[in-house]
């Protein structure tokens, strides 16, 4: 006999009054689950001057929001937040507690798990519901993924029956679906004085600049560009796709681009995606690109038989001056369409 | 890959640690030091931290006590990656061996611990402009006055010159006694009257400093003299007999490194639709190289063990053979390795050309190949004359 409260709880992580994007995606995912299991979706929001943000959680699927608005929650302290959450969980006893996969989430969640001997899982990407026809008993299992030794492992994990289930969920597409007219309950909770004392003191905090460019995606240009104007296209594509630019030796020697962008034996890169435009793929250049099973190489070249077309994941045969502008156009088109789609539901 | 030479656990530890240092600390910087012709002080510090500076120094003076074998294994492993930086340790060993072999307890206690810990480097001061192969022709004098000697003269081609703190220097104390008129002195950097000349510009081993030692009325106490007066030539010859395996190890290491580059290249380089390693011409070259490298290694390890065991009274023939064979082999192997890399081997982008340049010195210093042959022949004649 299970004396858990049939509710799905989601921890709403926030920093300086701004709710983390992973929470919104998590709410979307758990909303679907809550509908299937016919359980209310509850979120916990801890912070200072945070109450006004509770609505943001409701319009994204929360039925109930527990808000603790207190100056003690102003900056994050692992032990303070863990203790507050723990008290709440111990008094209400929800069955399922979800966290977004953030450094903070992964710090508090295990602390809670150890205190009440819950089952805790990380790297979850999907929920699976099993219905046993004999007993008509619902069982939920969690699909997790992990990259180990260059291989991707997909594991299905379950948690023991009478234990609280704590699951850390990996962000995926960062989709944010909003229903402006959704309603829900906001419940204020109060701390008793001297309840939570932290043993940790914050001395200084540095917030990093959000960079748009990531070296996870590199758009690289070679001799096939023909002239320095080709790099204008390369830069545009890099901007559209959210990556940085690179070059092989010929364009650098011909002074079409600075040698800061040269990729080769002496400047090795390890991007997730490498887009080689007008590059033939000679050993001298490709030595500079770390390629493993997961690397995606996209090659755009007139010559279908050159070396890079053999190793590319997606080999595009054609004139890059025609193809790259079309790709940029298509990416922009899809982006505006995506925003439109959000308001459709 | 290498034949099992039944090394002890301590010896395997030396190789393992040397390998780590070579890959993690030397390899990323070898090109830099070669191009800039700078002395690798930072890497010397890493050697010191890993206890690699005193492999051949007895335990009681702070070393590992692994003998010549320990030195050989260390130098070989380091030279697989870079034949020039490791030279700072090999040349220190050359400068230190006179103290180990002929020093009195006071001298050993004074100098060996700092060398073992890597705090100080040493150098061997024998060669002069007019005395290369012809060692007895040295002109540096050590004139005795009371308890001191005044040293005047110029030494040249001294490895570690200028960067070492401790120098074992050979000077003539008696011009009438010919070869028996040479003595050996331990002189420290900073001694009044002891300066350094220009740094030589070399074809290879560029990160190693090669300088002149200039002695101008350099006053040295008689306690700084190694062994008795007139013992100089004996000290020099005994030292060289013990140190030749070190040069051989350098040559062997460079050859091994070059061979590995060649075989790696041959596997990935494709011409006429196939990797070049599938061509018999290349395969035969590789087979020849691998065989001579292994033969050299066997000779070297056996010689080192024989020296350490002290089971043989005379080792000059064997150590000369080892130096002769390994150095000549290294010059051949680096040449052929470059041949396998073809045009690419000529480019500074690939490490082969440096290995080729570094290997070249091994047949020239610490006794040219011709001197080694003289030594071997002299021993053969002596051995067979009694039969």
């Amino acid at each position: 006999m299970n004396n858990f409260l049939k509710e799905i709880w989601v921890y709403a992580e926030q920093h300086y009054g701004k709710i983390d994007k992973v929470v919104y995606e998590l709410l979307n995912k758990s909303r679907k689950l809550a509908n299937k299991l016919n359980m209310p979706l509850v979120t916990i929001l801890l912070g200072h001057k945070i109450r006004k943000k509770a609505k943001q959680l409701i319009i994204r699927g929360a039925d109930k929001v527990y808000v603790l608005d207190d100056v003690i929650c102003n900056d994050f302290k692992d032990d303070v937040y863990a203790n507050i959450l723990l008290k709440l969980i111990k008094s209400k006893k929800p069955e399922l507690l979800l966290f977004g996969s953030t450094l903070i989430g992964k710090s508090i969640a295990p602390r809670i798990a150890a205190n009440i001997e819950a089952g805790i899982i990380s790297n979850c990407v999907a929920f699976k519901l099993n219905y046993s026809s004999k007993t008509n008993f619902e069982k939920i299992s969690f699909i997790t993924t992990n990259k180990y030794e260059g291989k991707k492992e997909i594991t299905t994990v379950t948690i023991s029956k009478n234990k609280l289930k704590i699951v850390v969920v990996k962000p995926d597409t960062l989709i944010d679906r909003v229903l402006q007219n959704r309603t829900g309950n906001i419940i204020d909770i109060k701390l008793k004085d001297n309840e939570i004392v932290s043993k940790i003191k914050s001395l200084n905090i540095k917030i990093k600049q959000q960079t748009e460019m990531s070296s996870n995606i590199i758009v690289s240009g070679g001799r096939g560009l023909g002239n320095e104007k080709g790099f204008i296209l390369i830069k545009q594509l890099a901007k559209a796709i959210g990556g940085t630019i690179g070059a092989s030796k010929p364009p650098v020697d011909l002074k079409w681009i600075s040698n800061n962008f040269l990729i080769g034996k002496h400047n090795i890169v390890s991007p997730k995606v490498y887009i080689a435009c007008g590059i033939s793929g000679q050993m001298k250049h490709m030595e500079g690109v770390n390629i493993n099973n997961d690397t995606i190489i996209i090659a755009i070249n007139k010559d279908p038989h050159c070396k890079i077309m053999e190793i590319a994941t997606y080999a595009i045969v054609g004139d890059l001056y025609k193809i790259i502008p079309e790709i940029i156009k298509e990416i922009m088109f899809r982006r505006t369409n995506k925003i439109n789609n959000v308001y459709k539901k | 890959m290498v034949m099992n030479y039944m090394l002890s656990e301590d010896e395997k530890a030396i190789i393992d640690i040397a390998h780590s240092v070579a890959i993690q600390k030397i390899k990323p910087l070898r090109k830099y030091y070669d191009e800039k012709e700078e002395f690798p002080y930072e890497i010397m510090k890493e050697f010191a931290k890993c206890d690699l500076c005193g492999t051949y120094i007895p335990k009681q003076y702070g070393g590992l006590g692994s003998g010549i074998m320990g030195l050989v294994l260390l130098i070989e492993e380091l030279c697989k990656v870079d034949g020039s930086i490791a030279l700072s340790i090999a040349a220190t060993a050359l400068g230190t061996l006179p103290i180990i072999l002929f020093g009195n307890d006071k001298q050993k206690t004074k100098y060996l611990p700092d060398i073992a810990s890597g705090k100080k480097l040493a150098a061997f001061g024998l060669t002069e402009a007019e005395a290369g192969s012809d060692v007895c022709n040295i002109k540096t004098v050590a004139t005795k006055t009371g308890d001191f000697y005044i040293i005047d003269g110029i030494k040249c081609f001294i490895t570690n010159g200028g960067d070492a703190q401790i120098y074992t220097v050979f000077a003539k104390t008696n011009f009438t006694k010919g070869a028996r008129g040479i003595s050996c002195f331990i002189i420290e950097k900073g001694q009044q009257g002891f300066h350094f000349g220009k740094k030589e510009k070399k074809m290879g081993i560029k990160s190693s400093s090669t300088r002149e030692l200039i002695f101008n009325k350099c006053k040295v106490h008689k306690d700084q003299r190694l062994g008795k007066e007139g013992y100089g030539l004996l000290i020099a010859q005994t030292t060289l007999n013990n140190s030749r395996p070190g040069v051989a190890a350098q040559a062997l290491g460079i050859a091994t490194g070059a061979f590995e580059e060649a075989i790696k290249y041959a596997r990935i380089r494709k011409q006429f639709g196939n990797s070049i390693i599938s061509f018999q011409a290349i395969q035969h070259m590789l087979a020849d190289m691998a065989t001579e490298i292994e033969a050299a290694r066997s000779l070297l390890y056996t010689c080192a063990r024989t020296i350490d065991s002290k089971i043989q009274k005379r080792i000059s023939k064997e150590s000369a053979m080892v130096k002769l064979f390994c150095s000549e082999m290294a010059v051949r192997v680096t040449l052929n390795s470059m041949q396998i890399l073809g045009g690419n081997g000529y480019l500074r982008d690939y490490p082969i050309e440096k290995m080729f340049r570094d290997a070249r010195i091994t047949t020239l210093y610490e006794g040219t190949s011709q001197i080694q042959k003289n030594e071997i022949a002299a021993n053969l004649i002596r051995e067979f004359s009694t039969k």
Binding site: P110, R111, I120, S122, K151, T155, I200, I296 | V21
Partner: protein
């Protein structure tokens, strides 16, 4: 200062540079933790004990740690430990640390590659009832009462001060792991390792192994398919549509 470092062995598919042991190696994050503990020992008088829960092969990483300069090594091994989830593992380490009793600082690697959870550290801290800080890039300073660290946040980084005892999980910082010295290697070979089993730790069998685990793996699949190579030809705008589909499919944009 008494420091405990919790480490874990991983299966190496590449030859470990440090030795010819091809099968096992040390979790890279634990390597950072080890280096931090040695840096503290460089700064002030400290004793470092390293513990691992694993198979008897895990002795390798313990000896490796000794070669770097830790003072004592303890191996927790028992067939009953097999199948432990993070909580059961943390509990086992907890029992061992309780036996050691004397500690000011506990260091763990941020996470280990075969689970990538990063849970054991915080769980252990909770059981020991001490504070914890995750994702520490480096220990800035330490004395007998407090430690100041630089830790990573999703939004940047933060400098925190904590009272001792505290548990820190260590992530990659600017530190380069020190090399092993020959004397260290020889010492490690001769060192004696303490081996503790479930009985020695006075543990109930239902708190460890699969019996003591609340999470259970029901299925494990490997997905190492080679990405299918595709060639695109034809008119530029149709290529663009197809390739952007692929970009979306692979979650590149």
């Amino acid at each position: 200062m008494n420091i405990i470092v919790c480490i874990k062995q991983i299966i190496n598919s590449i030859i470990n540079q440090e030795s010819n042991n091809k099968r096992y190696g040390l979790n890279p994050f634990d390597e950072y933790a080890l280096e931090e503990s040695l840096k503290v020992k460089d700064m002030l008088k400290a004793k470092i004990i390293v513990i691992t829960m694993g198979t008897p092969d895990a002795e390798f990483i313990l000896r490796y740690s000794i070669s770097k300069g830790v003072d004592e090594a303890i191996l927790l091994t028992d067939n009953a430990f097999k199948g432990s989830d993070t909580l059961a593992t943390a509990y086992t380490l907890f029992k061992a640390i309780k036996l050691i009793n004397n500690y000011n600082l506990i260091l763990c690697g941020k996470q280990s590659p075969n689970g990538n959870t990063g849970f054991v550290g915080p769980e252990l801290a909770e059981m020991l009832n001490i504070p914890h800080i995750t994702c520490v890039k480096r220990i800035k300073s330490i004395n007998n009462t407090v430690v100041i660290v630089d830790r990573l946040l999703d939004i940047g980084s933060e400098v925190l001060e904590s009272k001792l005892p505290v548990l820190l999980t260590i992530t990659k910082g600017d530190n380069i792991s020190r090399l092993v010295s020959v004397k260290g290697r020889i010492l490690a070979r001769k060192a004696s390792i303490k081996i503790w089993d479930m009985k020695f730790l006075n543990m109930e069998s239902n708190r460890t192994g699969s019996l003591g685990s609340n999470t259970h793996i029901s299925k494990k699949d490997e997905n190492n398919k080679q990405k299918n190579k595709e060639i695109f030809t034809g008119n530029a705008s149709s290529i663009a549509v197809k390739i952007v589909d692929k970009l979306l499919e692979n979650k590149i944009i």
